[in-house]
């Protein structure tokens, strides 16, 4: 399974499905990461985590551990 964590900086991907459960998953959806949305990986923090994404026209940051829950293609 390819997840958002595997996308390199400067790359983009389309969300297929959100795995996991509970507050983190809901929060990710609330912030606009839902099926079929295109996510662009803008950069990674200086210490290697978290990552910065552009989604629905704004900048969002999440940890790589959480990005692993987001299946993309």
């Amino acid at each position: 399974m390819k997840t958002l964590k595997d996308i390199k900086v400067g790359g983009a991907a389309t969300v297929v499905k959100l795995h996991g459960d509970g507050p983190v998953r809901r929060r990710i959806m609330d912030m606009g990461i839902t099926k079929r949305v295109e996510v662009y990986v803008r950069k990674v923090a200086p210490l290697g985590d978290p990552m910065e994404l552009t989604v629905r026209g704004y900048e969002l940051t999440l940890r790589k551990a959480d990005a692993e829950m987001i299946e993309v293609e």
């Binding site: 983009a12 959100l18 509970g22 507050p23 983190v24 998953r25 809901r26 929060r27 990710i28 959806m29 609330d30 912030m31 606009g32 839902t34 099926k35 949305v37 662009y40 803008r42 950069k43 990674v44 923090a45 200086p46 210490l47 290697g48 985590d49 978290p50 910065e52 552009t54 629905r56 026209g57 704004y58 900048e59 969002l60 940051t61 999440l62 940890r63 959480d66």
Partner: protein, 715 residues
Amino acid sequence: MSIKIALAGNPNSGKTSLFNILTGSNQYVGNWPGVTVEKKEGTLKGQKDVIIQDLPGIYSLSPYSPEEVVTRQYLVNEHPDAILNIIDGTNIERNLYLTTQLLDLGHPVVIAVNMMDLVRKNGDNIDVEKLSKALGCPVLEISALKNEGCMEAAEKAVELAKNHTHGDVPHVFKGGVEHALAHIEESIENVVDNNYLRWYAIKLFERDEVIHSELNLPEEVLTHVEQHIRDCEAEMDDDAESIVADSRYTYIGDVCSRSVKKAGGKHDLTLSGKIDKIVTNRILALPIFAGVMFLMYAIAMGSFSFSIGTMGTDWANDVLFGEWVPGLFDSILTSLGVSGWLYGLVMDGIVAGVGAVLGFVPQILVLSFLLSILEDVGYMSRVAFIMDRILRKFGLSGKSIIPMLVATGCGVPGILASRTIEQENDRKITVMTTGFIPCGAKMPIIGLFAGAVFGNSPLVATSAFFIGVAAVVVSGVILKKFKTFAGRPAPFVMELPAYHLPSARNVLRSTYDRGMDFVKRATTIVLLSSIVLWFLQTYGFVDGMFMAVEDSNLSLLADIGRTISWIFYPLGWAGDMAWKATVATFTGLIAKEQVVMTFGTLYNFAGELSESGNEIWTMIASDFGPVRAYSFMIFQLLCAPCFAAMGAIRREMGDMKWTVGTIAYMCGFAYAISMIVYQFAGLITGEATVGMWTVAAAAVLALLVYLTFRKGYQP
């Protein structure tokens, strides 16, 4: 009858600016019951009968954060007459997500599209007519920064509230979902307030735990509802929560494609993006952060020619509370001819005690001012982004670094700075540990012992700082393993808002609020404790007679010190130093500088003591062995902070239970570390002997190690 307008919107949508414009100075700030979420309300300028209720900035009405839950409860239980929903025009899709949820509640809603000046500048276009038609409610353009259209939006909301104009609920959900919702509505028709039928149906469909326990539906209804959810999930091949979120965003995408036109390419760098290329750059980010922190620290608390905070505080301590206020009270009390004890109470107790704390106000104002700017500009979320990796290892949030750094100057603004951490658990742990950082007022204590006992070795100060940081890290790890903090992992899914110029109105408002809050604490908790300590220090029993004592060795405080100093016996406080150390610990609660001053008094040094107290070094050295001195110093660094800091803890914790818990934790931790250090280091130097306390210290050490390395509660 007054009209209640609820102001709702995403964080960073300009809600605070709009609230300040609409209410001006008619604001009341409090807390939502039961949670440490700030509650602000005010009356609309020029219309005393219109109450504006500022709701917390949230992204959704999910049941997972305290902010979201209080908002939901307010909207459903308090029946506001209308909702004024502010949305950020430059980020319209995500902002409308909350809007679709607000519309479900069936209240009259007015949408104010903020930052229209920026939208136009970017060459984008938002057709508010089309938006209004699609969403079924009035949509107005505003710019809170430039104060354009704000009053009109509020008046529109008042008009809707007066006429009870409800919008049409937009058609967010399709086919199968709508079908399931209709069935759920039908089965709870007689259970819930019919105005909120749709809201409850959607929440039940999402399997919202809070709503489930609130409604407490009978088993057969639940089974029926669950069956419809399952059918729909099977049909859509997804889970209910995702179906709802998907439907909302799909609907919004559809609405926006018709009413919003964006100029420019998809991944073009905005101005914010360009700034971030430098500010969160792989190589430059950390040095820039260090630079910003240093500058902030230098301006507020440093000793440079531009350190206005320090200048203000020096002036307040030396002139205002050193000459003017005491002089004023002196002349008033003298002209009134009050008796000696009253004069002493006012001058030595109240004026000196409260003055010592109020002296910090200039530094706190400057620091709050700078912090507000960093917050308003959008830098704080970048800090969290940069620092998250390191800090989350210790159970803290990326934003915890700011309180910690500020606390190296003074713990009070440090603790108050934890306000910017949204996640409640992270904020609580930050508040509980910030006081461990050695603040400026603890430096004289370190100086005293380094000079008196350790031949001015720089290792003493270095180790003190290291112990402070280690206490924060270890405590973070230990606390995070308790169920209270481990319960719900706080998601670190955070918006990096576009940078924008700070609004003078917001910055000044927030600086003023923080400053006033500190003054209020100083005039209540500090006033009371100063009086009590003054009384204990001034009076005592001499030959069985209760009287004011000249010799502080005879005061009640000295008696108390002698009576309870055995508590500190395991820390090595024995012999003649024990009660003096105990008394100094108590006076240190007023301000940590008092510790050195108290030793000066107790060792009967007449005259002005220098800051490091070198006049009493020989006496200290003969009373304290090196290990005992070190144990005492550690205890002072880690135990309960001064009253002003306790006030700040109370402010950020929001309730007494957590405040007392924090102070007890700090004292307990300080006690444990001091005891371990004394018992083991004492064995090496021969100051301590093997006995039951060695065993106790070993047990405490084992417990600490266990708490640090155990697996902890897994949610």
